[in-house]
Amino acid sequence: MKEVLIPTIETDRLILRAPAPADVAPFAAFYASDAAKFVGGPLRDFQVWRYTAEVIGHWQLRGFGRWIVARKNTPGAIGLVGLHAPPDWPEPEVGWMLWDGNGKGYAAEAARAARDYAYETVGLNTLISSIAPENAASIRVAEGMGARLEPKNFEHPLFGTMAVWRHPAPEALS
């Protein structure tokens, strides 16, 4: 198998990098909290370990995937952002979860970098984001990125009914 090296991306304030074993603890703390209720939470520690392993494996199977997000000036994972496209998914998705530093625009900054990567490096022509209808903070991020609400929902196999937001095409961003 051709092995995929998970790239590192820098934005103004953030680093997007491959998940490491030390990231499981903060990720699990997020998934144990009420904040994870819109993304399938709560999950137990051992489930989050597997989730982290899944994020790594996704890169090998699809050639792209999600990154751990960290601040440039502070060590430690603050979120998981990037591309998600299991075989039975409606379309490739850009997703974001942020468990530290909320309200500073970090999610949007990382998600824009992930969207750029999808369009410029992977060569995708369109992207969706599936977001729980009550997840106001995440909807603000989607709106800020120029995404529009689609009429049809997506039944997530674990998270339940999700609204589908469609991102601007590459041409509309250049």
Partner: protein, 200 residues
């Protein structure tokens, strides 16, 4: 990836890391009744999560599950390898054979090879297998591999029996090792017809 998944060759099989094109075979078994002793049947998304996680496991632990292929045709027969996700008390030797590929000794041949690899290259000093007490096929395979039920060992969640594999020294040129090799060679010989019904 930092971990390069090694390739293992046996008399009839070649074992490689899980690859994208093998996913449909994995999904077929793990979304079926066959997966009832392995936390399943899973829905399609859970099957994908587990398959991806098997690759991530290699990266995190440095070992993991291999896909079992036929040496000649490359078709897949199942998986075997080392498995220790979070919550596992000890590193496990695990296996699964697709339901329509059982009865040819593939699980025995593959699991014997991966155990040998993990003992020699991975420097494992001991290994267990966590098996549902109702999974008689797997218990039988554990016993054919020389594993013995270990009532003292910690279980995953109390619903599994722990089988302890023979230590590396007990498999180094011993009668037990010769017996396993002989059984595998019998399976590989097309003239050999087992008297009983081979289960795995």
């Amino acid at each position: 990836m930092n971990t390069t998944i090694p390739v293992i060759e046996t008399r009839r099989l070649v074992l490689r890391g899980p690859e994208p094109q093998d996913y449909p075979d994995f999904k077929a078994t793990f979304t079926s009744y066959r997966a009832r002793f392995m936390g399943g049947p899973l829905n399609a998304y859970e099957a994908w999560m587990l398959y991806s996680a098997e690759i991530g496991h290699w990266e995190i632990r440095g070992y993991g599950m291999w896909m079992i292929h036929d040496r000649q045709t490359d078709e897949t027969y199942g998986m075997a390898g080392g498995w220790k996700p979070a919550k596992w008390p000890e590193a496990e030797i695990a296996w699964v054979i697709w339901p329509d590929k059982a009865g040819h000794g593939y699980a025995l041949e593959a699991t014997h090879a991966v155990r040998d690899y993990l003992y020699r290259e991975g420097r494992w000093e001991t290994a267990v297998s966590y098996i549902d007490p109702k999974n008689l096929d797997s218990i039988r395979l554990a016993e054919r591999l020389g594993a013995v039920k270990d009532p003292e060992a910690a279980t995953i969640d109390g619903n599994d029996a722990v089988y302890r594999h023979p230590a590396p020294a007990a498999l180094d040129g011993t009668q037990l090792a010769h017996g396993i090799d002989m059984e595998i060679n019998h399976y590989a010989d097309p003239l050999f017809k087992p008297k009983g019904w081979a289960l795995d």
